[in-house]
């Protein structure tokens, strides 16, 4: 089976785009919007209803025509050329999915390939490939009708349909707005995982700031002003949370933006404290000397494969002889470097400990994450490059 994606993402650029529905003097739905979306990025347009985010999205595939300004996809103005051709090259997913009720899942998915004149065999292969990609068993789902699917399954089919002709750009208008919170979270995670494989450029509209922060490589916060919908701030989510450009953005991202930042960061990105370790059978006296030299007064007992067994404090190491496994106590939570800091913190709070143990995929100790390290993040003066490597290439 061929790799599902051959075409990489496209760049999208809004160049002083304005859309007015009323006369030239009236307020603009979108006023002078300029922003550039790098290829392969998820860019989230977020803002209160009426801020022009959906209008902006629909101008990209020509469903709405801008009053002035240009929108460029890979440098090409979307208003030049045939709008139906343009749309066939852009995946489109909307909140209510809009699957054709009278067509099977397979027929729905191959809508655009059919319009493009692909052969039956190619369409069929592509359909099965996409169903697998979105986590639906082709044999079980191909012949179903949309009415026989759950909300989450419909949304997956909607994504598969949008990806069918391998477009370099996807437009998603509140794609997860109509499913319940548990399904929404799962679909969000699936999309993020999928995006790591397909690396499309995705423009994603939502009114939910948490979704924006979670999904976006870039987040464009839009705001309603007397002049119309304007861009209030555009940048990586971490930047929005750390340095909101205006009171509006600060209020919109919420008072808990410090906590939200924790969910953007991963344990592996934080400075770790090296663990002082010993194995059962090691000399107690020697171990005691080693923790005496370390400001952190605990010894982590590990097995032969460096997997943590438990903590020993100085009292357990009193006397001569060797270290006894039985005296090790109170395991800290084992953290994955891919876990978010927020999850790590929550695990540590649940376990009622100040320190989490970071382990690799084989369970070997990599280091310790302490409350202090997390607290340091929340200091206003914390330096951005420490917080989010890769976010600074804006």
């Amino acid at each position: 089976m061929s790799q599902p994606t051959s075409r990489p993402g496209a760049t999208v650029e809004f160049d002083h785009v304005t859309k007015r529905y009323a006369g030239p003097g009236g307020p603009a739905a979108v006023s002078d919007l300029s922003l550039a979306v790098p290829a392969g990025c998820i860019c989230v347009l977020v803002g209160p209803s009426g801020c022009g985010k959906t209008t902006s999205l629909k101008m990209v595939n020509g469903l709405i025509e801008p009053t002035s300004g240009r929108i460029l996809i890979d440098g090409r103005d979307v208003m030049t050329g045939d709008p139906t051709e343009l749309r066939r090259g852009i995946g489109y997913v909307i909140q209510q999915v809009g699957l054709f009720p009278h067509q099977t899942v397979a027929e729905n998915i191959i809508t655009v390939p059919r319009l493009l004149g692909w052969s039956d065999a190619t369409c069929q292969d592509r359909c099965d490939e996409l169903l697998q990609l979105v986590g639906l068993d082709p044999a079980g789902y191909r012949a179903r009708y949309p009415s026989q699917l759950s909300g989450g399954e419909r949304q997956r089919v909607g994504v598969a349909r949008a990806l069918a002709a391998d477009p370099p750009l996807l437009l998603m208008d509140e794609p997860f707005g109509a499913v319940d919170p548990i399904v929404r979270e799962r679909l969000q995670n699936e999309l993020l995982r999928l995006q790591r494989r397909i690396a499309k450029t995705i423009l994603f509209v939502t009114h939910d700031i948490d979704e924006a922060i979670k999904m976006g490589d870039r987040v464009a916060v839009m705001q309603i002003t007397p002049q119309g919908g304007v861009l209030a701030q555009y940048g990586p989510p971490e930047e929005l949370l750390r340095a909101p450009a205006s009171d509006f953005v600060a209020r919109f991202v919420g008072a808990d933006r410090g906590l939200k930042r924790l969910s953007l960061l991963h344990v592996g990105e934080l400075p770790l404290r090296p663990a002082v370790t010993a194995r059962p059978g090691d000399s107690a006296a020697e171990a005691r000397a080693r923790i005496a030299a370390d400001p952190f007064p605990y010894l982590l007992l590990v097995d032969e494969a460096d997997r943590p067994i438990g903590w020993l404090d100085e009292d357990d190491l009193a006397g001569a002889g060797v270290i006894d496994e039985a005296s090790a106590v109170a395991m800290s939570p084992l953290l994955d470097r891919r876990a978010t800091v927020r999850d790590a913190l929550s695990q540590m709070l649940d376990a009622d400990v100040q320190t989490g143990i970071l382990v690799d995929d084989e369970g070997r100790v990599e280091g310790l994450l302490t409350f202090e390290a997390i607290a340091a993040l929340l200091q206003p003066a914390a330096r951005p490059e420490v917080l989010a490597p890769g976010a600074a290439d804006a």
């Binding site: 139906t84 749309r87 066939r88 809009g98 699957l99 009720p101 319009l115 026989q148």
Partner: protein, 236 residues
């Protein structure tokens, strides 16, 4: 009760047995006249429905005109048409077609408008050309309501064909039997004509229900989902 000759049995079974082929022929003619009327009515109504889809403001005038047509008594309409089109099949069909329009236009428009805006938006956003949107999305989705209209129209048309028997025995189908029965005080003919006409109407109705099932497997899937597995077995 139709007028009867004295001493005649209620139903003359011997006459029926002797005229089975005549009855069959009349029934076929009856169906054919009704079929033409409904088919032409459907074609005109589809045209009008699509027109309304593009210019909603036409819906009012179109329903007003078809509504007025619908209220004209059939005999009066025949009387008005005979000077123009004579005692012909055309006269019968013009009248029959006009009676189908109101039902069909309304159902076609309702069917086309029942397609959810999200479906249309998604289709447009994926680059569906306008024309295939109508034929491949809107009309297929309108089928349940269109067929509902066809059922009503065909049942009422089959009933009305009997009246066209007044125009002459070439155009009346089973109506001719009824007319002749009344003129000759022969009740059996009246019964046969009336009952066969009712039978045809019922048959047409069942045929359309089956047709709709064939055309809209997706709607059946929906019904099955709503009522559970028991219904699946029944439908299979």
């Amino acid at each position: 009760m139709p007028p009867m000759r004295d001493g005649e049995p209620l139903v003359d079974w011997a006459w029926i047995a002797a005229h089975l082929d005549d009855i069959a022929l009349r029934s076929l003619q009856h169906l054919w006249i009704a079929f033409i009327a409904v088919a032409v009515g459907l074609a005109i109504s589809l045209g009008l429905g699509i027109l309304v889809l593009h210019r909603r403001s036409l819906f009012g005038p179109i329903t007003a005109v078809t509504g007025v047509l619908y209220t004209i008594p059939s005999l009066a309409l025949f009387a008005a048409l005979i000077p123009v089109t004579g005692l012909s099949l055309l006269t019968a069909e013009i009248a029959l077609v006009s009676y189908t329009l109101l039902i069909l236009v309304r159902n076609i428009v309702a069917g086309l408008e029942s397609v959810s805006p999200e479906v249309l938006e998604a289709a447009e956003g994926m680059g569906y050309p306008r024309r295939s949107l109508l034929w491949r999305v809107q009309l297929p989705l309108a089928v349940p309501l269109i067929v509902a209209g066809l059922r009503l129209a065909s049942v009422s048309t089959i009933g009305l064909v009997t009246v066209a028997g007044l125009l002459g025995d070439a155009f009346g189908g089973l109506g001719v039997l009824i007319t002749e029965g009344l003129q000759t005080f022969f009740a059996t003919k009246v019964y046969v004509g009336a009952l066969a006409s009712i039978g045809l109407a019922l048959l047409a109705d069942v045929a359309f229900v089956r047709l709709q099932r064939r055309l809209t497997p997706w709607a059946r899937a929906q019904a099955l989902d709503a009522t559970g597995r028991a219904a699946v077995v029944e439908a299979a």
